[in-house]
């Protein structure tokens, strides 16, 4: 792994985003808008807001980063820049790690902003430290990058890549314990939710909501999310073919 090539790739991806201020505004603004909406919807049910507020902080980076990453890589494929990159000394894992770093930075900004708004202005009650809320959100963003890069290997068009979103992300939302606690799900669904990474992110946010400080269980959840992210990244590198027809 070359640090210089990886860093240059991360920098390049961020520069591309910088030339697209509308996308940045949407990436940062939409989660803030949604948390505000959630607060208004639960105006008469503060307890529900306190339960759902933090887990949603983990869900936003998964959706936004997944979509941005998978479409970016697909664009590299369709415009021919990916083919060109594969003829240079840049290694596939360096390319994907560059992407993960860039979107990790973006997610850190997004998570800090949304967390500050949600804990400050919207007055979400979280017992754990705010910094760990942000850390967990960034871990989920890395997961989103990994999943996005991995799934874009199976898409040939923008239409296909967008359809992977409901396939890869929405079942995780249904099973992560946000709608129904995982313990109360049918055994089969509970078992499935055990192998889906978002479940661990939401468990982690529940810990942060209910407990002060950082428990071993919380660190365990963060570790699982990061392990999933790393696996998806490695799988993405392994499925990226240098030679094509």
């Amino acid at each position: 792994m070359s640090v210089a090539r990886t860093r240059a790739t991360a920098r390049r991806v961020l520069l591309q985003l910088r030339h697209d201020p509308r996308t940045i505004a949407l990436l940062l603004g939409v989660p803030c808008l949604l948390e505000t909406l959630l607060r208004l919807v639960f105006e008469q049910h503060r307890l529900s807001f306190d339960q759902a507020g933090a887990p949603l902080l983990a869900f936003f980076p998964l959706t936004t980063v997944f979509l941005v990453t998978s479409i970016s890589l697909l664009r590299e494929r369709t415009t021919g820049t990916l083919e060109r990159l594969l003829t240079t000394p840049l290694r596939r894992l360096e390319l994907l790690t560059g992407y993960a770093l860039a979107f990790g930075v973006l997610a850190a900004v997004q998570a800090s902003l949304v967390t500050a708004l949600t804990l400050g202005v919207l007055d979400l009650h979280v017992r754990g430290p705010a910094l760990l809320v942000v850390l967990l959100a960034v871990a989920v963003a890395l997961l989103g990058t990994g999943l996005g890069l991995f799934t874009s290997a199976f898409a040939r068009t923008e239409f296909q890549v967008v359809q992977f979103f409901p396939l890869v992300v929405l079942p995780q939302l249904l099973l992560c314990g946000l709608l129904v606690p995982r313990q109360r799900m049918p055994a089969a669904l509970h078992a499935i939710s055990d192998v889906l990474p978002l479940s661990y992110a939401v468990d982690g946010m529940h810990h942060l909501t209910l407990q002060p400080g950082a428990s071993a269980a919380l660190w365990g959840d963060i570790a699982v999310v990061l392990a999933f992210a790393l696996s998806a990244l490695l799988l993405g590198a392994a499925t990226l073919r240098r030679r094509t027809d």
Partner: protein, 256 residues
């Protein structure tokens, strides 16, 4: 030493930069390249000519190491194509411009220079884009875009340059300047393989490979092409070579 390319002994300072033996590429069960035998001498400009669909781009992709289903032997600067070592030494410009539309010219070239482990140097001036250096690529004209794509291949001084139709759609003055640039690079020891379907450009090359339907019609120098076909018009010469299809088994196959 295999002296496949006629006249190569006069100019070639070193051995061959690229060697193909029984190179075959299949796509969808069809042979898009069929048993190619050729050599590109180091430090020379080899022109790859042939109609659209003759296999020029496929051959370039095979040399660059991104083409699937390649059989036969292919040696690139003494390396197997696609390996880290081969990728460090060659640079490939794809036929359709492949640079980032949402970056400026300079940002694009700096990135390609860094991942190739070299400097951007003065490639922007070399391709005549000094005035556009800080413009977003998406705002450039088609010809300018093609030149950014070319510049991205020139950064970091590769030893082998694969250029797929680098002059298509450019105005004649610019085409002439670019061919001067290619000649200068070759004089400096760079090996260039350049595809084109404008046969007029063949005269800038040291050596020509004429492709048709995935086979080599002939490999010869521009002057030999004229001598063998009895016409100064390269386009006409190509037609005569193909019509005289009997010539096909190359006369230079006396390789030992």
């Amino acid at each position: 030493m295999a002296s496949v390319a006629v006249d190569a002994s006069k100019r070639a300072p070193a051995g061959p930069a690229v060697e193909l033996q029984q190179l075959t590429v299949t796509r969808g069960g069809r042979r898009v390249l069929d048993g190619l035998e050729a050599t590109c001498a180091a430090g020379q400009v080899t022109g790859l000519f042939g109609p659209s669909g003759s296999g020029k781009s496929t051959l370039m992709r095979a040399i660059a190491g991104v083409q699937a289903r390649v059989e036969g032997t292919l040696t690139v600067l003494g390396q197997t194509p696609g390996t880290a070592e081969a990728r460090r030494r060659l640079s490939y410009m794809t036929q359709s411009p492949s640079v980032y539309a949402d970056l400026t010219v300079t940002e694009n070239l700096r990135y390609f220079a860094t991942i190739r482990g070299g400097k951007m140097a003065d490639v922007i001036e070399q391709v005549g884009l000094g005035a556009q250096a800080h413009q977003l690529v998406r705002s450039l004209s088609g010809g300018q875009l093609a030149r950014v794509s070319l510049a991205a291949a020139l950064v970091a001084e590769p030893r082998l340059l694969l250029l797929d139709e680098p002059t298509v759609g450019l105005d004649p003055l610019l085409r002439r300047d670019l061919w001067h640039l290619f000649r200068r690079l070759a004089a400096g020891g760079t090996t260039l393989i350049i595809s084109s379907h404008v046969l007029d450009e063949a005269r800038h090359c040291d050596d020509l490979i004429l492709l048709r339907d995935g086979r080599i019609v002939a490999q010869l120098t521009p002057s030999e092409l004229v001598a063998r076909t009895g016409t100064g018009d390269l386009d006409e010469a190509f037609v005569r070579l193909i019509e005289a299809g009997a010539l096909q088994p190359e006369p230079k196959e006396t390789v030992t």
